[in-house]
Subunit: 421 residues, 2 copies
């Protein structure tokens, strides 16, 4: 079924019916916030043993007292742990404070102020442009907008960014300096870049020597199911291509331990790591190594982290599945409505062309807050007014059920309104 | 006695004697690191109850779960606590991660990239200059050097910077954008700014509207004795003068809880605080609020912090006093050697004109590392080659005793060498 083929009179009849159902939902007076990818309370409990055992933690790590100054690149043991996250060597890793966004912001600001490995500071160039696969992460785009970096939107396909376009855009234009990627369980579409896409990304031949791939592997271990989707190791591929200086990798424990109070890390070539350590010297004596030591003791190694992530998955999976069930029930035969069925990460992406703004508005009127429509696109401009990002982690199952009921009614009303015009 | 008045032959005789004593010290093969103001192990133990009780901490604070995203300006309770440190209102405070240096660096970088409250970004100006009272904190000067900000050295007197000079320098020159101050138990001279100096600082009439006083109150509660030296509240004075936008205040718990893993804070006018929160939005979702909650529970209030600081003082005071005793024994009658007798903070400042580099070199040769001579001055240039910064916190009493013996011999040798030339 496609709303486009329904006659106006019938649409109007449907609309009045849906509005009645919508009003019933409004009357319930429930409030659900699904704007951001925040862990829920039950997830936050998973990491409590880290704090419960904090007093017993051994802060003497390879002769370093984690409680005192020193180690600007982070505790050796923390670098070793995150090297396993990234699949790189420990000396290719810098472990920082809790926010990977902060590291991304800093490396962009460093490039603007100082250039990269001797290149012209970006502040001194007429134009700086970034490639922004969309829909994507609003905070990436916000960094660009904040610095006046031009954003070139390229479509995010089911296996990653449209690489034909990406290759073409960076090949001849020296002002193109970067591309934002969330390569695994992508924010918001949930897709994972295919081997082919990773391979092509690692083999880019950008005109700008200081072009960087911002590889934000925020959901590297965040599978919803036992079987993890494999993401090809981009650093291995880049090394083979002699392109290792082109890759900046990021990750954090924001959704493993505590959101905004975890540990974040950066990985890149030895050149870039040394350059960054040199820059960080002027900024900070060292990151919070007490927090790093607590994380090392609690997380132990990559296998143990995977066990911890299963506990997160057990909490999150039913919410994702409930969403899919209810959406399938409502729209399995409706061509106008598409939604992702992610195998990991924090988001579900819903597409209803021409109706996203209206749907978010209607849902809000019934107490359910979604991320503002358009915010998954550069400059907040979704040409099709199509994409809605759903963050199912915070609500309880009951709230989730209500929220999807509201979403379903909002979609139905918006579609009737749109096609009855 | 003044080495200048001793005859050459006698100096040579003295030198050969001191060299013998020096060689004996070298033979002991002891290593002591007094380069940085780091807390010692015993001090780090003071804050261990914070970690031991971490599991019992109440992370629900005024309806906010400290373990989740949110509160970019820091936990309300943390802002209230630091408001007491600064003597300002809670909404004039932003509480960040562990490093106050990081906040200072960031606000300078924000000013360079974006300007302050609508002023021209400093990056777009031909010249940016900072006033640097010296001797001062090397990391302040390093920020300037890193950004290519010109440093104008003004003498640090016994009651603060030479304010006649400071007033004159900033009055007519719009490129003068800031001044670095460690107003209490100053790094490295240990002095506290007098009421008159604070008053004049708060009443500066700089040509540049975006001139800022960087008030790094790193040692605000770090008295060595029961009676604390009072520092006049600069924000009160600035408000009276209508100058509240001109003041940036900084402090941290680096030397209250854990060095580099504490909590740092910024205080300023409502205008500046709002501006900074707006800038920080693009950088970080929030600071580590788990750490802030632990600090709030452990530190409680300003009176309790003062009790904690007495424990630090009890550990530090004997080291400072041992230093003074041994230096008095060696040099009480020697006009060429001066040293500070600080009532708080982390440093002792020694002045031996024309000999600082040689003394640090000699001490290093006997296993005792001091901060590089000159580093307390902009560009590392101490015109008189006079100042040595001593950080007595780390060594044990035994090591301290050895280190002062080495310093005494190194001074004697350097003076003999210099005046025998």
């Amino acid at each position: 079924m496609n709303y486009k083929n329904i006659e106006r009179s019938q649409l109007e009849q449907m609309l009045s019916q849906e509005q009645k159902a919508y009003k019933k939902l409004v009357k319930k007076g429930v409030s659900v916030d699904m704007t951001r990818g925040r862990p829920c309370k039950e997830q936050l409990q998973i990491a409590m043993p880290m704090l419960e055992n904090a007093g017993k933690c051994n802060f003497m790590m390879s002769g370093i007292d984690a409680r005192n100054y020193g180690e600007p690149a982070g505790l050796k043991q923390a670098r070793e742990l995150f090297a396993q996250f990234f699949g790189v060597k420990a000396d290719e890793v810098i472990v920082c404070d809790g926010s990977s966004l902060d590291i991304m912001y800093n490396v962009v600001q460093f490039a603007l102020q100082f250039g990269i490995l001797g290149s012209t500071p970006w502040n001194k160039l007429d134009k700086v442009k970034f490639i922004c696969p969309a829909p994507g992460y609003d905070r990436h785009f916000a960094i660009c907008q904040n610095f006046g970096i031009d954003m070139i939107t390229v479509p995010m396909l089911s296996d990653g960014p449209d690489m034909d376009l990406v290759e073409r855009i960076c090949k001849d234009d020296e002002s193109v300096k970067g591309i934002w990627c969330v390569p695994k369980y992508s924010n918001p579409t949930g897709i994972t870049f295919s081997d082919k896409v990773v391979e092509r990304m690692a083999n880019l031949k950008p005109a700008a020597k200081d072009f960087r791939v911002f590889w934000d592997n925020a959901y590297c271990l965040h599978s919803l199911y036992d079987e993890d989707v494999k993401l090809k190791n981009i650093m291995d591929a880049a090394k083979k291509a002699g392109n290792q200086d082109m890759i900046y990798e990021f990750c954090s424990t924001a959704k493993i331990t505590f959101a905004g109070s975890g540990v974040a890390a950066f990985a890149s070539s030895q050149n870039n790591v040394n350059d960054l350590i040199k820059r960080l010297f002027f900024k900070k004596i060292n990151p919070n190594k007490v927090n790093q030591a607590l994380h090392v003791e609690f997380l132990k190694d990559i296998d143990n982290v995977k066990e911890i992530m299963k506990k997160h998955a057990d909490i999150l999976r039913p919410k994702f599945e409930l969403f899919d069930e209810k959406m399938t029930e409502a729209f399995s035969n409706v061509e106008n409505v598409k939604w992702s069925k992610p195998l990991g990460g924090y988001f579900i992406s819903v597409d209803v062309p021409h109706c996203a703004k209206r749907i978010v508005e209607l849902a809000s009127g019934a107490g359910v807050k979604f991320t503002a429509a358009g915010s998954t696109f550069p400059y907040g401009i979704d040409d099709n007014d199509s994409n809605i990002r759903i963050a199912p982690s915070v609500p309880s199952m009951e709230e989730m059920s209500f929220a999807v009921d509201v979403l379903v009614e909002s979609i139905k009303i918006a579609l009737c309104e749109y096609y009855a015009k």
